[in-house]
C-alpha cells in the first residue's frame, strides 16, 4: 500500500519523510484555524492591523526566549501576553485619545518589533533570530504540533459558536451595539482568537510570515464569492492547496519552506486576480455582464 502511494511523485516526500508529514499537519492546523480568522480580519478591514499584531507578539516571545531559550511554552506564553497587551493598549489609546486606531496600532507594533529584535540579539545567534522571524515549519516537534492543533481546534469551535456574532460585528457593529450586549465580547473575543492564531502561525511561519496564511487565502477567496459561508470554505481550501504545493516546491527545489508556502499562496491570489469572477480583469472581459458585487 505504502509503496503504491510512494510511487506517486506528489505524495512521495510526505510518505518518505516524517518532517514533511509534520509540516503538512502543521499547515493543516493553520489552514483550519488561522485562515478563517484571516477571513474575518479582511472583512473587518483589519488586514494591516493583523500584520501589525503579528509583530506585536515578538517582544513577549523574545522575553520567553531570553529566559528559557527556544522553549515552546515560554515563547508561546510570552507571545500571547504581549499580543493581548498590545491589542488592549492600542484599542484603549484609540478610544480615549485623538490618536486613531491605525496609528495607535502602528506605534505599538513598531515599539514591539524593535524591542523584540533587540532582546533576541542580546543573547541569541542569528540562526535563532531567523527562526523567530521566519519560523521553522520543517522542524515542528510533537509539542509544537499539539499546540498548533489545540489552538486550531479552539478557533474552529469559537468561530462556529460565534459565527453570526462575528458576521454582524463585521458588517454593522453599530447595529449590533444597539440590539445586543455582546458587541464588546465579539470584539475582544476576536482579538484573542487573532493573537492565539498569530502565536500558532509564529511557531510555524515566524513573526514576519504568520499573517500570510491568514490574509492571502482570504483575499483570494473574496475574488470568487459574495457570501461568508462559501468564502470561509474557499479560503481554507486555498490555504490547504497553497501549503501542499508550497511544501512540495520547497522539497523539490530546495527552497526555504515558510516563504515557499506564503509565496505559493500569493501565486494563488494573483491567479484569482486574473481569472476569478470578481477580479479586475473578469469584469472588463465580459463588458456586457454585470456581476453583482
Amino acid at each position: 500500500m505504502n509503496e503504491t502511494l510512494a510511487s506517486i511523485p506528489l505524495l512521495s516526500p510526505f510518505i518518505e519523510f516524517s518532517f514533511m508529514r509534520r509540516a503538512l499537519a502543521g499547515c493543516l492546523a493553520l489552514s483550519l484555524g488561522a485562515t478563517p480568522v484571516g477571513v474575518f480580519l479582511m472583512l473587518r478591514r483589519m488586514s494591516l492591523a493583523g500584520d501589525a499584531m503579528s509583530h506585536a507578539i515578538l517582544p513577549g516571545a523574545a522575553i520567553g526566549y531570553l529566559i528559557a531559550g527556544l522553549s515552546l511554552p515560554a515563547m508561546t506564553l510570552g507571545g500571547l501576553v504581549a499580543g493581548l497587551a498590545v491589542a488592549v493598549l492600542s484599542g484603549g489609546v484609540a478610544r480615549n485619545s485623538v490618536i486613531k486606531e491605525d496609528t495607535s496600532l502602528a506605534t505599538f507594533y513598531l515599539i514591539s518589533l524593535s524591542a523584540g529584535v533587540l532582546i533576541i540579539s542580546l543573547r541569541g545567534s542569528s540562526v535563532d533570530l531567523l527562526h523567530v522571524l521566519f519560523g521553522s515549519v520543517l522542524a515542528l516537534d510533537d509539542a509544537a504540533l499539539l499546540l498548533l492543533a489545540g489552538f486550531a481546534s479552539l478557533s474552529v469551535l469559537v468561530l462556529a459558536i460565534g459565527l453570526r456574532l462575528f458576521v454582524l460585528e463585521g458588517c454593522d457593529p453599530a447595529f449590533l451595539g444597539r440590539i445586543s450586549r455582546l458587541g464588546p465580547l465579539a470584539h475582544y473575543g476576536f482579538m484573542v482568537l487573532l493573537v492565539l492564531n498569530l502565536v500558532a502561525g509564529f511557531h510555524a511561519l515566524g513573526t514576519l510570515m504568520a499573517v500570510g496564511i491568514m490574509i492571502l487565502p482570504a483575499a483570494a477567496a473574496r475574488l470568487w464569492v459574495c457570501n461568508v459561508g462559501p468564502l470561509l470554505l474557499i479560503a481554507v481550501s486555498v490555504a490547504l492547496l497553497g501549503s501542499f504545493i508550497g511544501l512540495l516546491l520547497s522539497y523539490h527545489a530546495d527552497l526555504p519552506a515558510g516563504p515557499a508556502i506564503v509565496l505559493t499562496l500569493g501565486g494563488l491570489y494573483l491567479l484569482s486576480l486574473l481569472v476569478a469572477p470578481l477580479g479586475p480583469l473578469a469584469s472588463r472581459w465580459r463588458s456586457g455582464w454585470h456581476f453583482e458585487r
Binding site: 472583512l43 478591514r45 459558536i161 460565534g162 453570526r164 456574532l165 458576521v167 454582524l168 463585521g170 458588517c171 454593522d172 457593529p173 453599530a174 447595529f175 444597539r178 440590539i179 445586543s180 455582546l182 473574496r222 464569492v225 459574495c226 457570501n227 461568508v228 468564502l231 453583482e292 458585487r293
Partner: protein, 262 residues
C-alpha cells in the same frame, strides 16, 4: 417662545417622557431643557434646522448618548427593543452578504447569536422583503443595491425587529420618489398597528401630509402639536434664528459646539 410644548397625547399613555433633558457632546449642550411626553402610538415628526439637535435627541432616546442633565424615561419599552434607523447607515456595504441575510438580522432579539431560522421565521423574512417591494432580490449582495433599495432593505430589517418604538433619522435622504412613497406607506402601516414612530424629516410638505403631529426643534422645543399649526412661517423663522444662535435666548451662545449636523 411662540408655543408652549403641548403635552396633549393621542392615546393618553406615554411611551416617552423628557424631564428637563439636556443632551450634548463634550459637555456642550446640543438640545437643552426639553420637557414633555410622547404618547404611545404617536406618529411624530421632528423638524428643525441643521444643528437643531434632532439626531442628538434620537440618540438620547436610544441611550447612545447619556443626558448631561435631566432624564428620559421610557414606559413599557426597553432600550434594546427600540428600532433605530440612523441617518448614515453604519453598514459596511462591501461586506459579502445578501439581502435575505441582511434583513434576517432584524430577528436578532428573537434568535440571538445561536437560534435557528425555522420555517415560520423564513416566511416572515420573505414577507418583510416582499412588503418593501424587494422580492426577487433576496440573493442580491447588499453592495449591489441602489440607495433606494438599500433603504428598503433597512426598512425590512426594522419591520422584523417588531419594535414598539421606531426611530427614523432622515429616512428619505437620498432616495427616489417611488421608494419614498412605498416606505411612507410602511410607516403608516406601523402607525396603524399601534407602534410609536418618531421620524426626523426635512421635507415639510411630506410632514404635513403624513404626520399628524410635529415637534419643531431648535436646541429647544420651539413648538409642538398639530403639524399644520406647528409648521407656520413664524415658528420656522424663530427656529432658524435659535439654531443660528442669533436669538437673544440666554442659552444659545454656549451651544454652538453641536457636532451633530442633524
Amino acid at each position: 417662545m411662540p408655543d408652549q410644548p403641548s403635552n396633549a397625547s393621542s392615546s393618553g399613555r406615554p411611551i416617552l417622557r423628557f424631564d428637563n433633558l439636556t443632551l450634548g457632546y463634550d459637555r456642550h449642550p446640543a438640545v437643552h431643557h426639553l420637557q414633555g411626553e410622547i404618547a404611545a402610538g404617536s406618529l411624530l415628526a421632528i423638524v428643525g434646522p441643521n444643528g437643531a439637535g434632532k439626531s442628538t435627541l434620537l440618540k438620547g432616546i436610544t441611550g447612545e448618548l447619556r443626558p448631561l442633565q435631566g432624564r428620559i424615561e421610557l414606559f413599557g419599552v426597553q432600550r434594546r427593543q427600540i428600532a433605530y434607523l440612523t441617518q448614515l447607515t453604519t453598514l459596511d456595504s462591501s461586506f459579502p452578504m445578501v439581502v435575505h441575510d441582511f434583513v434576517a438580522m432584524g430577528l436578532w432579539r428573537e434568535i440571538g447569536a445561536f437560534g435557528g431560522l425555522d420555517r415560520a421565521r423564513r416566511v416572515r423574512i420573505a414577507a418583510a422583503i416582499d412588503l418593501v417591494g424587494m422580492n426577487g432580490l433576496e440573493n442580491r449582495p447588499i453592495g449591489a443595491l441602489s440607495g433606494g433599495q438599500l433603504q428598503r432593505a433597512h426598512f425590512a430589517r426594522v419591520l422584523l425587529q417588531d419594535a414598539p418604538l421606531v426611530l427614523l433619522d432622515e429616512p428619505y435622504g437620498a432616495i427616489d420618489a417611488a421608494s419614498v412613497r412605498d416606505l411612507a406607506a410602511l410607516v403608516r402601516y406601523w402607525h396603524g398597528e399601534g407602534r410609536t414612530v418618531i421620524s426626523v424629516l426635512h421635507d415639510l410638505e411630506h410632514v404635513r401630509q403624513e404626520y399628524p403631529e410635529t415637534l419643531l426643534l431648535a436646541r429647544e422645543i420651539v413648538a409642538r402639536g398639530d403639524s399644520a399649526t406647528v409648521l407656520s412661517e413664524a415658528n420656522l423663522l424663530h427656529a432658524r434664528r435659535l439654531a443660528e444662535g442669533r436669538s437673544d435666548d440666554a442659552h444659545a451662545p454656549i451651544c454652538h459646539a453641536d457636532q451633530d449636523a442633524g
